[in-house]
């Protein structure tokens, strides 16, 4: 498993070279959003908006109306919580080409409740005109730029920073409204996105050994959510469907799957794993994933509930196949 250090930093610089319309706005989190080098490379296209997100939304709107493509870089919470009225009225309503690069999705930060974007997908899914993307690995961190750039309207991105695993081949970039099928089986279908994908991948081999066929679908576009493979994968699951998300189970991936199942009269059990309508707190990612049931053991337990029998998979089995041991070398992410 390759671990890529700060894939966004140089990739975004290289990608921007032939796109003079791309400008970057930050709100006092420039290095924390991995665009310090970008600022130094393109100082004329970089606008520090200071700690004033409401005003930043309006400036981005004005720049977009004049033909620029603003890429706002800040923590996700400061995009959809504080300045939501401005985001909706100044940018989303007029369908302007503004890109929101939101860092620290879900419990990926020890910064606690103030820094953890746990209901961003709910809020953004309910925002008309918004396209919503989520990166799950280095390949997606790199290729999300082209996907967002091509969208005629505002785009919200759940972005990963720091040390990011490469789960998908470089030559298989993210594509708009296209899921990835990571394993196939007819007993259960599991949907993951972002950092939970790695967890389900970790459980794949032990589940297969236990005789459970899992179709594992990785989602990188939350909206639109129309890839026909989504419904096909739901339909093939004999025992039911599990969603595992780094987000509250209200309004995010689990809700999107539930809506699709209900609208298509797919009468199967659905287990939604994620934050169970609760806020989290400040602690390490691994600790929080365990505490709130976002990790591989939680997924196995969810699948056992669906198939109605124990799998015999132990935590040791999941540790053995742990695919991201290099993470132990990395520091807890600083603010």
């Amino acid at each position: 498993m390759e671990i890529v250090k700060r894939p966004h930093v140089q990739n975004f610089i290289d990608w921007s070279a032939d796109k003079p319309e791309v400008v970057v706005l930050t709100a006092d989190l420039t290095n924390s959003s991995e665009v310090g080098n970008w600022r130094d490379t393109y100082p004329d296209r970089f606008f520090p908006m200071k700690m004033a997100e409401q005003n930043m939304m309006g400036f981005a709107a004005g720049l977009a109306r004049e033909g620029y493509e603003p890429w706002i870089h800040t923590f996700a919470v400061f995009i959809y919580r504080r300045p939501l009225d401005q985001l909706a009225m100044s940018i989303a309503y007029p369908n302007l080409r503004v890109r929101f690069v939101g860092f620290l999705p879900g419990i990926t930060t020890p910064g606690g409740v103030t820094h953890q974007a746990i209901e961003d997908l709910s809020v953004m899914r309910a925002t008309p005109n918004m396209t919503i993307l989520e990166t799950g690995d280095a390949t997606e961190v790199e290729s999300v730029l082209d996907v967002a750039h091509a969208v005629d309207g505002p785009v919200y991105i759940r972005m990963l920073r720091g040390e990011v695993p490469r789960l998908f081949p470089r030559d298989e970039p993210m594509r708009l409204d296209r899921v990835r099928v990571l394993s196939e089986g007819d007993d259960v279908t599991v949907f993951t996105a972002g950092i939970t994908t790695e967890e389900a991948m970790r459980a794949a081999a032990p589940l297969a050994a236990a005789g459970i066929g899992m179709t594992h679908i990785h989602v990188s576009t939350h909206k639109p959510f129309n890839d026909p493979l989504i419904l096909e994968s739901i339909k093939r699951a004999k025992h039911g469907v599990v969603t595992l998300e780094n987000h509250t189970i209200v309004g995010g991936l689990g809700s999107a799957v539930a809506e699709l199942m209900a609208e298509n009269a797919v009468g199967k059990p659905l287990v939604r794993l994620g934050l169970q309508d609760t806020y989290a707190h400040g602690a390490s990612r691994q600790y929080l994933m365990r505490e709130y049931g976002l990790d591989a053991p939680a997924l196995v337990a969810g699948i056992e509930k669906l198939v109605g029998r124990p799998t015999g998979i132990t935590e040791a089995d999941l540790e053995v196949v742990r695919i991201e041991e290099v993470h132990s070398m990395s520091k807890a992410e600083a603010l």
Partner: protein
């Protein structure tokens, strides 16, 4: 009186008269906004702003849908002419002043006289609260205090591009209660956006009544200057004073705080103070009094 003043005052008087006429016809409307801001709208459209001819039809368009990917959409900004580098732009902040803006467009020949017949009519773009598709309106700003930031982005882009035209923003004084306004003032000053000019209708009125208690603490101009922009007070009904204040070159983003009278030209309305936000007649007798006031205004 010099020619420009005579013609500009005629526009202002026309705006006030048209709005009262509409209020009488509809048994209600945003009257105090017209009383206070008629002169500043007249100054903007008839004297100060450099606008090209309207690109929009005289008859207001029908609503065709909200913006979205791949769907046809227009903004009402095309009533203000082309967006060329030498032209000024108008960004309208207090969207509930829409009736005043429509009346202004009619007075300066950018909108048909009959357009107010479609005011607040289902399926019309002549909406009660100005929307992005409404005549003269370029951005979505009815949620107050959002226009200055958007105008800041437009002014920044224009400055980077080397445009010579200004970006004009019309604001109401109540909007200075919102934190976003101060975020914006600080940032436009920091970016030295001297192509951004703001005229504020300081009529001392808001939905719940008077807002003057805030002004007692510290005049608005002092607060704006403390944030790094330039600001001057002006009598909002005196065309010479407005002209001087609005055309002043300071090398900074410039605010004109225009002190206005919310019952200017319609003293009868003053009996309702301090609740002047919206005028609706409560009796036939009261309506008759306003009809008499209208007759007086016309003559």
């Amino acid at each position: 009186m010099s020619d420009w003043k005579e013609s500009t005052q005629a526009v202002a008087d026309g705006i006030r008269r048209r709005v009262l006429e509409h209020v009488l016809k509809n048994n209600g409307g945003y009257m105090s906004q017209a009383c206070s801001s008629s002169e500043m709208f007249a100054m903007l459209y008839a004297h100060v702003m450099k606008l090209g001819p309207s690109l929009a039809p005289m008859e207001p368009r029908e609503f065709i849908g909200v913006p979205g990917p791949g769907v046809p959409f227009f903004t009402g900004g095309d009533y203000n002419g082309p967006k060329g580098p030498g032209y000024d732009r108008f960004i309208f902040s207090p969207a509930h002043y829409a009736l005043v803006l429509y009346a202004t467009l009619i007075e300066v020949g950018r909108l048909a006289e009959t357009s107010l017949d479609h005011f607040n009519e289902d399926g019309s773009t002549v909406e009660m609260i100005g929307a992005e598709h409404s005549p003269g309106v370029e951005t979505t700003t009815g949620s107050l205090a959002q226009a200055l930031s958007q105008a800041g982005g437009i002014a920044l882009a224009r400055k980077v591009r080397g445009d010579t035209g200004n970006v004009w923003v019309m604001m109401s004084d109540g909007e200075f209660q919102e934190g976003q306004t101060w975020e914006a003032v600080e940032q436009i000053a920091r970016f030295e956006l001297d192509n951004l000019r703001v005229i504020v209708d300081a009529n001392g009125q808001q939905c719940d009544g008077c807002l003057d208690e805030v002004e007692i603490a510290d005049p608005l101009t002092n607060r704006i200057r403390a944030f790094g922009a330039s600001a001057v007070e002006s009598n909002g009904h005196d065309l010479d004073a407005l002209n001087e204040a609005m055309t002043m070159q300071t090398g900074k983003p410039h605010f004109v705080v225009a002190r206005t009278d919310p019952v200017r030209g319609l003293p009868l309305f003053g009996e309702r103070a301090p609740l002047l936000h919206y005028l609706r007649f409560t009796s036939a007798d009261e309506r008759a009094q306003y009809e008499a006031a209208y007759e007086e205004m016309v003559s």
